[in-house]
Amino acid sequence: MFVRTAILVLKKDLAIEVKTLEIVMTTLFFAVACVLVFSFAFVREGQAPPDAAPAILWIAVAFSGTLALGRTFERERYSETLRALLLAPAPRPALYVGKLLGMIVLLALDELVLVPLIAFLFGAPMFARPLFLLLFLAAGTLAFAAVGTLFAAMLIRSRTRDVLLPILLYPITVPVIICGVRGTAALLSSPVDEPTATMWLAILIAMDVVFVTLSLWTFEPLMSE
């Protein structure tokens, strides 16, 4: 029941996105524009400052993720469909997991474009350790989306949700972004600083466990009016 509900919510969100392409296009254009502007600012004669690429990658992911969070829950607010979801005889944390998976898929699509773009524009060896990079992106995206999905759902009935979301989200997720930046920088260094990258990855995974557990635990009481 839990898994089936989460998959149903995910499939529904993806069906809407396939029809409208609204969030994918908005976040992609935003993220690509962000990377392009930074590349014009920082890259001189084909050389980017050290560690600029990981910082820009994670900033682009965080900003476009915030944009996606706002839009995806605006859809549930528009016809109050979140109330219909909460009324269903499904475990409420499963609804959270479904929305979270939808966010992760959207951010993964962004990252699919961002990583090669940054590798090209900044001359960064993004694919030196592809599996390691994949783990970093997966762990960082999960931590960011886990907190973001909870806060966006919580703020759905607030009139000032667009203002409150970044105010609540960034103080909690800045450590995630810092871990992502430092870990990815260790991966991109030459030679690859594997012990440092492993340490940051372990911290990110620990954050995943904490954020997902807390979100699953608090989603139902936070959603009750």
Binding site: R4, I16, K19, S79, L87, A88, A90, S224
Partner: protein, 256 residues
Amino acid sequence: MRSTPTTRVRSRPIAPGSRPDVDTFDFQSVQLADVSRHFGRRRALSRVSLTLNGGDIVGLLGPNGAGKSTMIGLLATLAIPTSGEVRYGGRTAKEAGASLRQRIGLLAHELYLYPELSARQNLTFFADLYGLDSQTLVPAALERAGLADRADDDVHGFSRGMRQRLALERALIHNPRLVLFDEPFTGLDDSAVSIVSQRLRTLAASGSIVVVATHDLDIADGLVTRVALVREGKLLADEPSAGGLRSRYRSAIGAA
């Protein structure tokens, strides 16, 4: 009040084609006992006590801001009382959990439909969410809504009346025991109103508890079997409907 019979059943037919993978329970009545709901300093409902029985069509009447939608939200388990309790056949919403939600159907001001999805996609999603056999139920629901030929059109292109009919089918697709309708006649033409009214009578005849919050006293007069009049969060009257609703409303609430 707490001794109202409660029957835990897994075998009771919930809806045609259903897959009862949620442990469900049945109830014959719902009791609001001294229920209050406050939003900050605003008292949306104050110490309301009311019993709703199977077969009733209860008209929840009152002016704007009287507390009708708050009461519907409380009955739907979407809101928690500030004090007092709502019991469904002797169990609270917290005790019954998901198995109670399986038995509640809600149609509110907002229609709870995804405008980007088609009529068929909307009904299929909600049928699947309730663990029902969408392959069987959805075509029949589309037929009842008169939308079989528009089944694959996106909902954002529908008129208000078409959306309302679709939302009605969404709310009733799982054959709920407790049916909560907040302004169900909005945007419906005369023939649709009579179809919806007949549907509510059929639901009540089958033992469902039907609660209709409406401002349309003329429609309510011929439909409801009991009237609950609310104003400023207080229950002013709870009595059998016996015609002359407009004059009773006027004397209890004011001009109508």
